[in-house]
Symmetry: C2
Subunit: 317 residues, 2 copies
């Protein structure tokens, strides 16, 4: 199918699994990998990308749509020569489910004081501590899109009190919601465990700084505030997280994303006793699950249906 | 109210919080603490007990009911001189919720490989590993009472495949159930993460032994089998858990209960890298939540209603 070929432009992940899966499922549609794809540049209609080289996608003059293979699109928007084709985010039930697994796990780890009991185990110390039930603990979700709302539903089933914050107003059953700059301080003042699922935009960059973290509720049922960042690394000011932990604004943090990835070996975050680090795997994109999703979108698009989950370039998500 | 007084017989926990709470909520009803209560022995109608001294409850000739203040009753039944009054277990929504928190937390810790990433963090190592989604992972619950069924509902919401085993046949929506000795091997062969919420009875004592653990499914999505014992310590053969971990029958274990508690400092369980130990706090009994529950039961009993959650002494639960 000339003029309907796919280019895979993938950095930071092993592209081979994606290539195999796309070739296996694409039927007659040609699948090329960047930079070899340049030899067939005119035939390429769809780019499936993760952290493509800046300027790479501009080399395909007939691009009709760009698909981000992960949950974010900031890696695309930072390319000043990005073509004007529509950009579709991945919204995949499997990806959403994985993120909910991660969020529920890390909320419960802080709530049930896993790191305190880990330290006691190392000291062979048998000692119980006061344990508030989930119904006394306030979890606040920043970012109320598909991922945030699914995590909320699972946390609600466990029993947590839930607050939510988003850029624009949202109403979610059983959740106290806040929005915009005006609602942020009130949201933080009622949040003991802060779960961050925001996109990276100019407005959210470095939002997880010391001034914000100091506004979290420290005197709630848990007796301290906790941060879980499973959103984007550029939201987070690493030095401020450490400062917040060391002065007591935070009692613990789970970090899955970082401004520079992989997190450099010399970063003090690795060695901080109150930080749990995961290697950006809260909701990994897996070819097995996502490739069919993208191919289905392309097929619908070619039948004349609108692309789903197209991002707004001005908003950045 | 003579002839309707309460005795608190509590060992292993600090009795003061219970005493204060009972006195605060009991109105005109007298509340005595063992052994001082012996001076008013004739007036005692209700015993509220946790691990009472053997023979202690036999000293109250007018006992109408015995309430266990924790989820189990094995601590009562081991007393050969236990009076014949009916014994009621605690079935409290707060206790159930706490157990579900614990079960969901530890299932997700094994599923999402927390101990592997902990070790990588200590080595400042950024490396992702294959991660099956919850929908590919089989969790098996042994014990399908109130606690088991609530945990199942929460795990279902996360996405896990669920099996259940109990002594007698139970049907639970969306769960593959097995029962009795005849169903046990098939249940184990389909279970990657085994969650044990059984009572301690002559039939279940030392059930978690090497022969049983070797029957778990090791070649499932997780590539290994995991044990979570939040039931009773006497179910578990400590040496066999270590042997199962060392030979690979188990890939990890979360243990909240032990045959001897506190777990002795010299136990090798403390230092095993694949074992997570918690100090019997999966679902702690808290006076704030439970005392009103017991007093409500007594009030209903005095109005002529039947006691709830009365155990069968022959079955042991």
């Amino acid at each position: 199918m000339r003029g309907q070929a796919i280019v895979l432009a993938i950095n930071g992940w092993d592209p081979r699994g994606w290539e195999q899966r796309f070739r296996a499922l694409a039927g007659n549609r040609a699948v090329h990998v960047f930079p070899d794809a340049l030899q067939a540049a005119d035939s390429i209609a769809y780019a499936c990308a993760w952290k493509p080289d800046p300027g790479a996608l501009a080399k395909f003059p007939n691009l009709k749509a760009i698909f981000s293979l992960g949950a974010g699109v900031d890696h695309l928007l930072r390319d000043p020569r990005l073509p004007q084709a529509p950009i579709a985010r991945i919204v995949d039930p499997g990806l959403t489910q994985r993120m909910t697994e991660y969020v529920v796990l890390h909320v419960l780890m802080h709530h049930r004081r896993v790191r305190l009991y880990d330290a006691q185990q190392r000291a062979c110390l048998w000692r119980d501590h006061d344990q508030p039930p989930a119904t006394d603990v306030s979890v606040g979700i920043m970012g109320l899109g598909v991922l945030g709302q699914d995590a909320i539903e699972a946390l609600k089933r466990i029993g947590f009190k839930l607050n939510g914050w988003s850029r624009t107003e949202k109403n979610i059953d059983g959740v106290q919601t806040f929005h915009g700059a005006a609602g942020l301080d009130l949201f933080l003042a009622q949040t003991e465990i802060l779960v961050v699922l925001l996109p990276h935009t100019p407005e959210t960059e470095r939002i997880l700084n010391l001034a914000l973290l100091r506004k979290l509720k420290r005197n709630g049922a848990l007796g301290g505030a906790y941060l879980i960042n499973a959103g984007r690394g550029m939201l987070q000011v690493n030095d401020d997280i450490v400062a917040a932990l060391d002065e007591g604004a935070l009692a613990g943090a789970s970090l899955d994303v970082f401004p520079i990835e992989p997190l450099p070996k010399e970063s003090p975050l690795w060695r901080h006793s109150k930080i749990t680090i995961t290697p950006h795997n809260s909701a990994s994109s897996v070819p097995r699950e996502l490739v069919q999703n993208v191919l289905d979108q392309i097929a619908r698009f070619e039948r004349g249906e609108p692309l789903q989950n197209v991002i707004d370039r001005k908003l950045g998500y």
